[in-house]
Symmetry: C3
Subunit: 343 residues, 3 copies
């Protein structure tokens, strides 16, 4: 277990330390359940009341809570406690799990024409095909497949069991979680006499820098042009990105989202879990879609959009759902009443 003193923390991460620099903590944790060896944080003012009660050995707070936090013992004061907390977890993770050593496991099958950068780690049972490029400091987890001509950017880490298929690329400092498939064929067929004739998918997937992709998510290659994921995009687990989708920079999508072909999503958007976006639509920058809503038309104005049937006890739902199927008729009846009453 890692054990650090508060002075080490602020020496690394900045912030104003109030209280004993030599106090030692061995855990980062929420205010609730904290112990004297826990370093905690208050990022949301609505949890302010927990500040008085927590047993945490130190609390990271915004300037507004300086006095309250200091009064109860040690505090680190910083403009953005949540950001400070994020950076703290990064420093902590590097201490707890130092980067594993570089090197190519003897079981890996690396094509002679592949170009492998400096300080790269390639784990057991990896396949790197012809003309693939692995840039410096990249990590390729066990059982990954790096297809022909694919490219992994500087310091990008692939967890075990990732497929980055032929010609696809990801930029620098990316994180790809286990089970991800990048570059499977898009879903394209021409109907012909009741059957489907395959449209070979000739495009690629191009992913920018600082992108994170969650476990078992899929990003299909484009039909003719490429599928594009811009810098800083974050995708959660089990997300489906169809062929020729374009996702703007710093957009984030929660788990189980599906985006259909050729949709064009702006930058700085967020999409809630399980939501869907139909094909060929455009979403402007800063559009936010609620969980499990289906976007059926382009959205050109920033804002929050929702469309989900409100959950209820089953009996009430049944009554309302049954009525809903006659809603159009209800409107006609209201109209008839209005005509009669207010002609």
């Amino acid at each position: 277990m890692t054990d650090v003193c508060l002075g080490d923390v602020t020496a690394q991460l900045g912030g104003e330390l109030i209280g004993p620099a030599e106090r030692r903590i061995n855990r980062i944790g929420p205010l609730e359940g904290a112990t004297p060896s826990t370093l905690s944080f208050l990022s949301n003012p609505k949890y302010q009341s927990q500040l008085a009660e927590t047993q945490a050995g130190c609390v990271i707070v915004a300037p507004a809570f300086r006095e309250a936090a200091a009064a109860r013992g040690a505090a680190i004061v910083t403009d953005d406690p949540y950001l400070y907390f994020a950076r703290l977890t990064q420093w902590w993770a590097r201490r707890e799990r130092p980067a594993p050593p570089a090197g190519i496991h003897p079981s890996a099958v690396v094509a002679p024409t592949a170009r492998i950068g400096r300080e790269v780690r390639i784990e057991a049972f990896v396949v790197v095909e012809d003309d693939a490029v692995i840039e410096d400091h990249a990590v390729i987890g066990s059982h990954c497949v790096i297809g022909q001509g694919a490219r992994v950017g500087h310091s990008t880490r692939l967890a075990p069991r990732v497929s980055l298929l032929h010609g696809c690329s990801i930029g620098a400092r990316g994180i790809v979680h286990s089970g991800v498939v990048i570059g499977a064929d898009g879903f394209g067929f021409a109907p012909h006499q009741g059957q489907w004739v395959k449209i070979e998918q000739l495009g690629k997937v191009r992913i920018g820098d600082d992108v994170e992709i969650g476990a078992n998510s899929c990003i299909d290659r484009g039909a003719l042009d490429d599928t594009v994921i811009e810098d800083g995009v974050k995708l959660d687990n089990l997300v489906q990105i169809a062929h020729n989708v374009h996702i703007g920079a710093h957009t984030a999508m929660a788990g189980c989202v599906g985006v259909a072909g050729s949709a064009r999503i702006g930058a700085h958007c967020t999409v809630g879990g399980g939501a869907g976006i139909l094909g060929h639509l455009t979403l402007a920058d800063h559009v936010h879609v609620s969980s499990m809503s289906l976007v059926t038309r382009s959205i050109l104005q920033p804002g929050l959009y929702s469309g989900v049937f409100p959950i209820d006890d089953n009996k009430s739902w049944e009554k309302n759902a049954a009525t809903l199927r006659q809603l159009h008729t209800l409107r006609e009846r209201i109209r008839a009443l209005e005509k009669k009453l207010m002609p």
Copy 2:
């Protein structure tokens, strides 16, 4: 093909046999389509009429159907025919596919510091990292990754291509299907100047005994504390469990369910396919959620909850959906009429 006599069945599994103990059957099957060598069962009284017509060589029935079943030939009478059927399939499966032999495939890469129990089977191309623990009688399918310090309990079976990542654990007698990812990073970021700063996920996943996890499902590690799946939980395929979720004992979730971060689900709950549960909510024990419903608030009373737009032919749906977008206005119009009419 397995071929057993009815006397063997009741010797193994109990129940009262009516009819010839030496009659041989070679298949378990539903009443419909059964042949004289089929052992069938009647668990739902609504299929009672099939009893007279089935060609099954023997039918497992509840006491209430003793006479009807006996009249047509052999029967096994038991209090809970469906439970009997379940146990019959277990016995049958052990006969048809005996457990493969223990042993470590020579291609597996097992760290010297890993602890491997007795009678463990580790298949081809498995990676077991430092300090991992595989308890007695466990089976690790080909291409699995058992991360640093991870633990697989007694008699638990991992199908091929499972990732159980560093520090995560599963208890005894579990079944994990192909493609599952346990312990990928939770989806956590601090927003900063329009970009996302990663919150390293320092927690683990802890899974209890007798848990089954369906193909390509994902269970993320906790941010600070752990993600917890209690004993007897059953998850179907393509289920997404986010960081710090807590699922109570014997809860079951059907395919494609998504549970967002820090949700706390009770014991003995069921969640229908494709349903979603938002983050930080609480579900009491014995809550049942209908397929494709989105739980947007805590549910503290047991019961069945639903929220899904009723399907209709597209033309009717279009009319009702269009009216739905003005529903609030309709209410106002009703109110106006009421005021006029019943002041």
Copy 3:
């Protein structure tokens, strides 16, 4: 980069060439953004106006557009331009990425009792278990598992990291994308004293000819009988097919669809992304389900069916959703008004 002349194209694929046979093109692309070395196509008359503006070196058109296309330079005239385009991509793909050579990678673990056909390719780290059958010209991508007694048909290609588990089969000319799991256990349990008793899944998965299955999709084995996917079915990514489902020929399902146990889907159906179909239902041939709709009852008439809450700006949605929860009451109020006004 491939570089062909128009005469080669029509020599291979037919169609009437208008213009210079020696003109060279090196890219297939949409009308918009085309260059003089692009071969483009007009399949949807609504893009007709692009025909005059495009820079494409040649355009594939229907007879109705013969003059318009010829006037601007080269054209290929054919009855079904989209079908022609599909076949063009197939020819193009074979030129750009010729089939990799047959052979068994030395790292593959192939059981001596497995039967491997002629001109089969088995890539690195593949496991082929006892009594499995790989027919002629099949390709088994790296890290695939072909379970005991499983069968891969003639010319079928499995991408890397596919599980085809014991006893399951796929026919000829199929394509299975990375991460697919065929033959995991169906989700079947008998409830007993608040716990779940596993029903061993004794059936298999049988998949016909010319089937394509998208990345990370799952098809479960049947409980007693088999799960069946008929010829020509196309499944997109992250699709879940439960035990004992039967999917008729040439049906297509988009990404993230879930089909529950024992549903029987007709032939020539289409299911939109994220839609769900409950268990034990029947869908007739030529039924089409809109994206994210939940089918809760059998549909015996061909047609398009929908059921999804229309998306709206969040404020409007909130008001309408709140009203929706009292919809039944609104109907009662309308009825009361009607009684008063039109007794």
